[in-house]
């Protein structure tokens, strides 16, 4: 919990990882390129005092994670969102077993979400059922730009993606976190396009689709889709640290999100270990829309409380002290919130 100026904020960090990008785990040059890309994000967007050395960045381990999130970072509950990246790392990028073990040992603090790749077909479905039997997760993280043999990505609208969603439905896996990445076949079109989320969300209205990075670099496409699909949510992974380097840009991102999808469908995350939560939470609570941006209303404390934790807590049934709970807001001007009214949303 974070407290400031007499206000208490229940914090859920909705997107964290326990990764191992050390050279001995890198399968090829792409393993190095991938973590270097993350490290450049980290260096570029972090305040100087929050920057880690490259060595620290390669691997943190469970103990450091617990300290960064729960001792230093005000976090009440955090959710693992693993990206496996088996083509880049020998034992995977996300340390799935270690993360699961840590969550099992700290169930009040950590939720373990799993990952799968629909290109594994029937065998992958068997595996998903077995993993679910053992780990009993309610959410999964899908990285659509994961490489797999000749393929360098898939769409959520692919037939096999649908087979897996049907299985999720049966198993009670309700929360589908999506990270859109850059390579996908065919390369003819925009690989960051989030149109496939639209299809999947329309056809699986009983599942929640949480688009990480709020669709960045395609914020506009994300907002439009989320406006029409009440089961589409936005995760603020990667968007948060722009508060430091590009606060006016961040103000516009958050202003747009509140305008298009409203305050109840936005989830905070540090994207640990890309960044650490402490400074992000402190600054978000202090953050305000610049005065000259008259197109946006100021951010309210209620909105900040929902974004920092209450929204994700509701989705994951994480217990929140009664005095910290808040009611949902009214519908946004741009569209419906209730699934049965989805078809009434604006015409494309």
């Amino acid at each position: 919990m974070y407290s400031k100026d007499g206000e208490n904020y229940f914090i859920v960090d909705a997107h964290i990882a326990l990764w191992d990008a050390r050279p001995e785990n890198q399968r090829n040059i792409h393993g190095k390129q991938f973590i270097d890309c993350f490290y450049d994000y980290h260096r570029n967007l972090s305040p100087e005092a929050e920057q880690w050395s490259y060595e620290e960045y390669l691997y943190q381990g469970g103990e450091r994670l617990m300290k960064d999130l729960f001792d230093d970072g005000y976090v009440d509950h955090a959710i693992f969102q693993p990206a496996y990246l088996g083509e880049f790392y020998k034992n995977g990028f996300a340390q799935v077993q270690e993360a699961y073990g840590l969550a099992a040992a700290n169930p009040d603090k950590l939720t373990y979400n799993h990952c799968y790749d629909p290109r594994h077909g029937e065998a992958g479905l068997d595996r998903l059922r077995a993993d679910h039997e053992k780990m009993n997760f309610t959410g999964v993280k899908l990285y659509t730009a994961e490489w797999h043999g000749e393929s360098r990505g898939y769409k959520l609208s692919d037939p096999w993606s649908y087979r897996y969603f049907e299985e999720c439905r049966k198993l009670g896996i309700k929360n589908i976190h999506i990270h859109k990445g850059p390579t996908i076949r065919p390369l003819d079109r925009d690989a960051f396009d989030v149109a496939d989320v639209d299809h999947a969300a329309s056809d699986f209205t009983d599942l929640n689709f949480i688009v990480e990075h709020v669709g960045l670099p395609r914020l506009e496409d994300f907002c439009w889709i989320a406006t029409q699909e009440p089961n589409v949510h936005g995760g603020l992974a990667v968007a948060m640290p722009f508060m430091h380097t590009r606060p006016r840009y961040f103000a516009q991102i958050i202003g747009e999100l509140i305008y298009w999808i409203g305050e109840d469908r936005i989830q905070f995350s540090s994207d640990y270990a890309l960044w650490t939560p402490r400074w992000l939470i402190e600054r978000f609570v202090d953050f305000q829309i610049p005065e000259d941006m008259t197109e946006y209303a100021p951010l309210t404390t209620v909105q900040k409380k929902k974004i920092l934790g209450l929204n994700a807590a509701k989705m994951y049934n994480i217990p929140v002290p009664a005095e910290l709970q808040l009611p949902n807001a009214e519908e946004t001007a741009t569209g419906p919130r209730q699934p049965e009214r989805a078809d009434l949303a604006g015409v494309r």
Partner: protein, 273 residues
Amino acid sequence: MTAVHAEPCAARATSRVTKEDVRVALGAVLDPELDEPITDLGFVRSLEVTAGSDGAVVRLHLRLPTSFCSPNFAYLMASDSKDVITALKGVASVTVELDDHHDSDLINAGLAADAGYRGTFKHEAEDSLEELRWTFRRKAHTAAMERCLTELLRSDPDLLETDMGNVRLWDLPEGRNKEALLRRRTALGLPGGTNSIVLVNHEGHPYPAEAVPMALRRARSTRISIDGNAHFCRGLLRTRYDGSGADQTARPEGAEATPNHEQLPFTVKETHQ
């Protein structure tokens, strides 16, 4: 015979290609997503022009903000670069290489062999990258349109969002935003007459009155996205390649009030509970 021999020699002498010529030519190569010349973005890593027996030999190295920049965009910029240099009179050979990208080997081999998009990406290519270019030309127009209308709205507090559907080109103040809009309209084949309606879709159709505020809001989210990406990509390039900032041209659109990595004490609004 003498005359025939003399011709190419004379041509070579008068059209000796310089680095500056090549750089100017590269100014026409745009990052399709960010809608800016690669020369402004700092994507030119090195450029070498030497004299060969048949004309200039040009070697160009390109760099991008991350190893995982979209390979289709990366390919477009590299192949467009090769095309504009090859088209220069007096150039005998051109080598373009993309450095430090996850697809560097693939793209560089494709460029060396002039294999084209499909020849380069094989099973990952279906048709062409033309539709991709059009997607981003349309977005560039949308963003340019929004910049002009928001500028107008901010200049006159009596104007309402709903008025924006009737604004014509002649209503817009002269300046960088209007010039940019006119360029984007030309790129889409939209009319540039001063009585043309500003807020139109990519086919040139205006919006019915009740749809105007939503069209403007959507355009705004597009503009925010492009400006945000343009600055983030610039920043990442500077982080990745020491000193590359010197090769970048400042972008006023979407610029922050304070420089990168500095805390900003800007005025904030009152928070209402």
